[in-house]
């Protein structure tokens, strides 16, 4: 191995390595590479001065620009809120009826409400707010706790059977499982309840069951559902005479509801969403209902 041997053709030194008579030139590092190295080094030096960089025991160098991701995100949230304030302040100030009448404001409500609903409500109530078994349909006309904007707003705030101190609370007892009614009484009351929305049952083969069921209903169920079975918005007891069913209106589903009881649960959104966001959701949901058949 001969170090510092020069290649006669190009005049460059070789590395001294030789493979089957082939020698490797030891050319200089190209200028652009040096340039790049120097540029990145200079950039690093400037960055060290401007940005948080060097550990100093229990603390670190904060940099001249005072960059801080926590402050940055807080500032960007403030900026976003300021940008929206042109219409959010009006939403905060005006009452529900005034906003609903304002076409311009409702455009913002629809756009923002759609995003909020999709992120927070749609998993239970469905993408189109049509609900599912155990999760109320929000575009039908049946409201357990009232369909006025104030009532819907309150439901969103406190939830139903949630851990909020003002939570709406509603519980259907487990009449069968907890042995308050026997199987026969439950079958009777189920027939009666079904006859309220299907009058033909009262005159069919189950007529006797319906009559017996009415008595069971009057002593056990009317306290919450009302003597006329039209339900109560104060206890969240559903109207049993209409065609809307939260847990299904067929015989088996109603039997299961009476036997095992029901206790739906809606979380409280007071901590998770701002008052304005909850107001937007209220208006959005009621607006969906208006668009629905």
């Amino acid at each position: 191995m001969r170090v510092n041997e020069r290649d006669s053709y190009t005049g460059h030194a070789t590395t001294g390595h030789e493979w089957n008579d082939i020698k490797e030139l030891n050319t200089r590092v190209p200028k652009p590479v040096w340039l790049f190295l120097v540029a990145t080094f200079l950039f690093a030096v400037i960055y060290w001065v401007l940005m948080p960089a060097w550990p100093l025991g229990r603390t670190y160098s904060k940099g001249l620009l005072g960059a801080d991701v926590h402050r940055d995100v807080a500032a960007s949230l403030r900026d976003a809120a300021a940008q929206r304030s042109a219409w959010t302040t009006r939403l905060e100030r005006e009452d529900f009826a005034a906003i609903q009448a304002d076409k311009e404001l409702m455009k913002y409500v629809r756009a923002t409400g759609h995003a909020l609903f999709g992120s927070d409500c749609a998993v239970c109530h469905g993408k189109n707010a049509t609900g599912g078994p155990g999760f109320p349909d929000l575009v039908d006309n049946a409201w357990l706790w009232g369909g006025a904007p104030e009532a819907v707003f309150e439901t969103i705030r406190v939830g139903v059977n949630s851990d909020h101190p003002d939570s709406r609370s509603s519980q259907m007892p487990a009449w069968g499982r907890d042995q308050m009614l026997d199987r026969e009484a439950i079958l009777n009351v189920v027939a009666y309840v079904r006859s309220l929305s299907h009058p033909e049952i009262a005159s069919g083969p189950d007529a006797q069951k319906v009559v017996a069921g009415q008595k069971v209903f009057a002593t056990n169920c009317s306290a919450c559902h009302g003597e006329d079975a039209k339900g109560s918005k104060d206890t969240g007891a559903p109207d049993l005479t209409d065609s809307f069913w939260l847990y299904g209106g067929d015989e088996e589903s109603i039997y299961r509801t009476v036997w095992d009881g029901r206790q739906g649960h809606m979380p409280t959104w007071e901590k998770r969403l701002t008052e304005t966001d909850r107001k937007i959701l209220t208006l959005y949901v009621l607006d969906l209902k208006q668009g629905a058949p």
């Binding site: 670190y60 926590h70 960007s76 998993v123 239970c124 155990g134 999760f135 998770r272």
Partner: protein, 245 residues
Amino acid sequence: MFQTHYKLERYTIGLMLAIIVVASIGGTVEIAPLFTIDETVEKAPDMRVYTPLELAGRNIYIREGCYACHSQMIRTLRDEVERYGPYSLAVESQYDHPMLWGSKRTGPDLARVGGKYSDEWHSMHLNNPRDVVPESVMPAYRFLKQTELRMDDLPEHLAALKELGVPYTDEMIKNAASDAYGQATPDSTQAQGVKARYGGATDIRAFDADPGVVTEMDALVAYLQILGRLTDAAYRPDQETEATQ
């Protein structure tokens, strides 16, 4: 200095040692200082540890690989904070061994999912996601509700975490199995000790709506319902100033 490698590359062991020294510079200056800098991990004196049932749920979460599609890390970006809530703090993961921050979101982030949805929803959703979210691509975990939770090994899990610095007391370790049973069985005598040991705000419910048997569904739902709720640190308005002190 620019000629050093001519010499160095002629000695295999010397070259190897030099490579190790150079390659470790990055780790040394970027990672090591985090152990001494005060504000790396925020203070959260109100933070509680996972109950045995939640820990069992966490182990199921790891076993089923939920972290492959769900992150538990809300980044300091405006869109994430507006969608998921306050960004995650390091202190919120201080009892997570290993942490489950994740890096991929096929599903949504779960760092603050606790309390966002009801137990029934979680139960239905894990059983078959399409029942509640028709467009979901998440697999169904039907067996969770049919599989009884193994609880006899929970004291050992707690003891192992204690070794790693999680402040479980000897009493917690001793009662781990009965606490797990009690947390999912509200009317049992075992339920009474849970609040005494883990704080009054601990959820004691039949998470899968069936108080008779403690299933893996109970454990996983209990874990999901506590995510983001072990401490209020992220919700404190003064945490920005606290972090810089």
